[in-house]
Symmetry: C2
Subunit: 143 residues, 2 copies
DNA sequence: TAAAATAGTTGTATTATACAATCAATAACT
DNA sequence: AGTTATTGATTGTATAATACAACTATTTTA
């Protein structure tokens, strides 16, 4: 493994992560956390905080608060679980879906601007390598 | 531009950023912010909070606090600027350099583990594409 | 020399997060 | 069946990184 590649990647990753985190905070856009939670609910359907916390790899309390915030905004509804009165299902609402979709489109547009001038192949490769990295990270987590 | 690529990349980027941010928070390692500030001082030499804030694209007050925290730990010294009594130079210390270097090595090791099994070419490409992305982001910021 | 600009610090607020305590409901044990 | 243990969720408290606003002490400018 070449030291140069590792050095370059390390450097680029810190910069990359940092910029994205900060840009997201600044622009008055939907927060990363809300976006990710909504996306989760939209993709995998209603779930309780415990399951969500596991999937998102967050503390239950964190998800509980995030979910409450989304309920406040009417982006999700909190439905009692008839089979277990301790628990609830959080379900994305129509409004939440619209917000999510709008946000997604915004993110896509910004990303497209960033990728202007990239060849189709470069884009494909970038996506593939990021995905591979993520998959490895997931595996390593579940050791 | 293919929608699929954009979608894939968007998804992978959110996951990527999220995981890195959270992993860094959890492991009791030097914080991202401290690492980046130290790296800046190490690479470009002593500077005052204003210049640092500009380079790092942070609010001056944020850098001021970060720098103070590093002074507390003796990772940097705060030297008065003889030519302007309002301002200071923050300079990385020997101890700070050692810490930075140790941290860097740790990060490299973890990254190497993540990149196990990648070909030399894949690594090189990943680094190159991240860099390209970052450079574009920098340009766009300075519009 | 008085007013304006500048470098830095500190107070206050927000967001995302974790851990601990707690509550209510369900499951397990004897 | 009745007591105890476990579980799903919420809420209190704490921390880290950040921004904005108010302020102080200098320096520059008009």
């Amino acid at each position: 493994m070449s030291d140069e590649s590792v050095e370059l990647i390390e450097r680029q990753i810190t910069d990359f992560v940092r910029r994205i985190v900060m840009t997201e905070q600044r622009e008055g856009r939907m927060e990363r956390s809300a976006y990710i939670l909504l996306r989760q609910l939209s993709t995998y359907g209603p779930a309780g905080v415990k399951a969500l916390a596991e999937n998102l790899q967050l503390d239950i309390s964190t998800v509980s608060r995030q979910a409450s915030a989304l309920v406040e905004k009417d982006y999700v509804e909190k439905l009692p679980n008839p089979d277990d009165k301790r628990s609830y299902f959080y379900k994305i609402t129509e409004l939440g879906s619209e917000e999510l979709e709008g946000n997604r489109r915004e993110r896509f547009e910004r990303l497209e601007e960033m990728l202007e001038g990239w060849t189709e192949e470069e884009q494909e490769t970038f996506g593939r390598l990021l995905k591979r990295y993520n998959e490895t990270a997931n595996e390593r987590l579940n050791l």
